[in-house]
Symmetry: C2
Subunit: 468 residues, 2 copies
């Protein structure tokens, strides 16, 4: 047995009780919203066949997949020749399983494996950790949770409208008051490329304008030229960076610009339909005013996001006046399961970045003051006699559904109250000889420092009525 | 990209929505009970340093740990000499991380790493998957959840009494009506060994009598003799297999037998104290009658359970009249963190076997009829006009907190109702031209097949009042 001081792998984290409770609060809000919109939970194993994951995330992604060593005498399948060929070659010989890299490929794999049992449209959400052998740095972990919702098997744009609603509802419920849901469409981007005379070049254009926030218009111009976009096209593109006016006005300006392109038309038609759905649903995102003046929902033609994958509407969410990347995003795709030889499964999905949302709620102090869980009252133990008296009191509290503890030893009062403080227990119950004689127990409000003498029934009433 | 039919690794499982919902129901009951007793959640990373896990589970256990291949050019640290020494030697050169094997070692590691921040007694629960490279077979998985609660830093036997209460409350809340919580004590086992003239041999004795259920008294006798226990000692031992009478009577018989042994005395004293706590708490386990006649709480001196680890009370729970191994178990230990060079951390813990509990609830049909989550009402879509009318209705339902969906396309009625059936949605809402004109919408009870015409407000009232 090693006696060295133990540690955890770089890029991983322990979540102690206080943090788990806060994270679960976020997960709870997200789950309840997903379920209100008809999404149901799916869980897939942490381990996937390596062959299921390989080739799905590009060359670079393949390198970042955590591979699991075969058990037993794994070298028995390798020859000296194999070894000589190097690590990459040997990996396939000594590893058949790997940790999932995201939730999308396992979802696609699940849909393909269960195609005959699934009723479409299939709405699933999935909240599970993923693992990436990335270099750990601030805000980037090797083990972190993803939080995805997807509906596959329908082309209805009601799904896109409901995604806007779900994002709005989750973030509003969490107490955020100033955020912008940016929306764009792959067809609009293709139409723009065509309209500026660079048809089919939208991938290059998007990679460049995706950096607009970071490197500015001048930087984007430089990159576009380097990527072989003509100076004339770039000049035609630039006015789009800050399309003025309301979403409706933007749609009209784009109509004038993209009216002739089939892809542009498709994009604008879809976007208008999403707006119609939202209007008919009375969406709060359409009517809520952000304090910053930024719109709650904004058509943003510079939003590019993962072009290789998405084919229709795309989303991204930014909290205004907080220095933090996007906290949610997603889009529509044509072909979820083609990678496994099952064509024609289209859908739309999005995800929340829980680590970022956590940091935003901390920064804005939006976590509820006292948590929903955790002990509500600690009974202090003075001696064997008070312990004996306290036991049925403890049981009465728990029977009333109140989380309660009796300190398990007759330690010093200071130590016991310190325990309550550390655990954020809002009340302590002190039962000395006087209290036992009178039946009036001392209930101490830990925050206010005040004590009241109450019967156990009065205490139960008070703790049941006061907010958790 | 591979087009072969994808699969999941042997011994792992996908959990589709219906199963996740049922599993979450079990987890929810367990969590609420743990929290009511003051236990708070901890989460540790799936990946631990290999050095943290190695040597903690014995030679055999080390083989069953899933090791993670180092990223990048992992072979660069190995020489031809290393390779020649074989897989076991090479493992240490190409793997530094591994998947956790249980929740106890990560908990011990957490306590050691955070010893200065933790307030003791520290009550934590942890519900997370673990991984074992075991040969998969029926009921044995390579990825499965463990569900542990431990309190460390106190010797109070109140903790043991509360464990009995938590087991009783969880299983009762889940609807189980006939189960037995078996309890024994390491000191009693040591005392028995001494009393029959085989002092210090309790490990051998326990390994043998642990098999009593499987191989019977004759088989146990044979094994004991093979292990070098004298025939005389075995004959003295055998009357203990079926100690008659109530728990109180058993304690008295044991008192007569073990009265002279220090360890036996310690065990009996502890057990009596647990009983005193339970009596004073008014424990239901003491007063509830199992339909089968088996006691709810039973002192069982043949209960042996993981002797190398436990030092005080030990527990195991069996559902009566169901062919299934123990569904919960645990015990007190002296030295949680000694493996990491931190002595003196004693505690007591237990865990629930969620896969087994799931199977028992299925077998006894104890899962609630309709789940707490999932869509409550599906609005059927006939055409564009009905869709337009339905959208604000949908919003009204959701605003009232009712999980609702509008079928996203005007598919055939049969298909839409089939979707509701598949998803176990209890109500369908049909809005045709007549309904739009009158404002009286058709609410169809999917199970009963009955339809009623109601206004949207009446529908909300009904769905809010009727149990989920």
């Amino acid at each position: 047995m090693s006696k060295e001081k133990p540690s955890i792998p770089k890029g991983t984290r322990d979540f102690g009780p206080a943090i788990v409770v806060k994270r679960n609060y976020i997960f709870g809000v997200i789950k309840r919203t997903f379920e209100k919109f008809g999404y149901l939970p799916l869980e897939t194993p942490a381990m996937e066949q390596l062959s299921v994951l390989t080739g799905k995330y590009g060359e670079e992604g393949d390198q970042l997949i955590f591979k699991i060593l075969n058990s037993g005498d794994f070298l028995s399948k390798t020859s000296a020749e194999d070894i000589a060929k190097g690590s990459k070659h040997v990996t396939r010989k000594i590893s058949e399983k790997a940790l999932r890299y995201d939730l999308t490929v396992p979802f696609a794999r699940f849909v393909v494996m269960n195609r005959n049992e699934i009723t479409f449209p299939f709405k699933r959400y999935q909240i599970q950790p993923v693992w990436r052998a990335d270099r750990p740095q601030k805000g980037r972990y090797r083990e972190f949770y993803q939080c995805d919702a997807d509906v596959v098997g329908t082309n209805s744009l009601l799904c896109e409208a409901e995604i806007v609603q779900m994002i709005d509802e989750v973030l509003s419920t969490l107490g955020l008051k100033d955020f912008t849901i940016k929306i764009n469409h792959r067809g609009v981007l293709a139409g723009i490329a065509e309209a500026i005379g660079e048809k089919g070049r939208e991938a290059d254009i998007c990679v460049a304008i995706d950096k607009l926030d970071k490197i500015g218009a001048e930087g984007v111009r430089k990159e576009l030229l380097e990527r072989g976009i003509s100076a004339e096209a770039v000049s035609k593109l630039e006015p789009l960076y800050d399309l003025a006016g309301s979403n409706e006005e933007k749609l009209e300006q784009l109509q004038a610009l993209l009216g002739e392109t089939a892809e542009g038309q498709r994009g604008l038609k879809d976007l208008r339909e999403v707006w119609t759905y939202l209007a008919q649903l009375g969406s709060y995102a359409l009517t809520t005013e952000n304090p910053s003046g930024q719109p709650r929902l904004m058509l943003d033609v510079t939003l590019a996001r993962g072009l290789s994958y998405y084919t229709g509407c795309i989303f991204e969410v930014k909290v205004n006046n907080v220095s933090m990347g996007s906290i949610s995003g997603g889009g529509r795709y044509d072909n979820l399961t083609g990678m496994f030889g099952m064509p024609g499964v289209s859908g739309v999905g999005f995800s929340f970045g829980v680590d970022r949302i956590y940091d935003v709620l901390e920064e804005l102090e939006l976590f509820p003051n006292s948590s929903q869980v955790g002990t509500r009252v600690l009974i202090v133990q003075f001696d064997k006699e008070s312990e004996l008296y306290a036991l049925p009191v403890l049981q009465k509290l728990r029977d009333a559904g109140i989380a309660a503890e009796l300190y398990p030893e007759a330690a010093k009062l200071k130590k016991q109250l310190g325990y309550a403080d550390q655990k954020n227990i809002p009340f302590a119950l002190l039962i000395g000889s006087e209290e036992m004689a009178s039946g009036k127990l001392k209930l101490r409000d830990m925050q206010a420092g005040e004590q009241r003498e109450l019967t156990i029934d009065e205490i139960i009433t008070q703790l049941t009525l006061s907010p958790a």
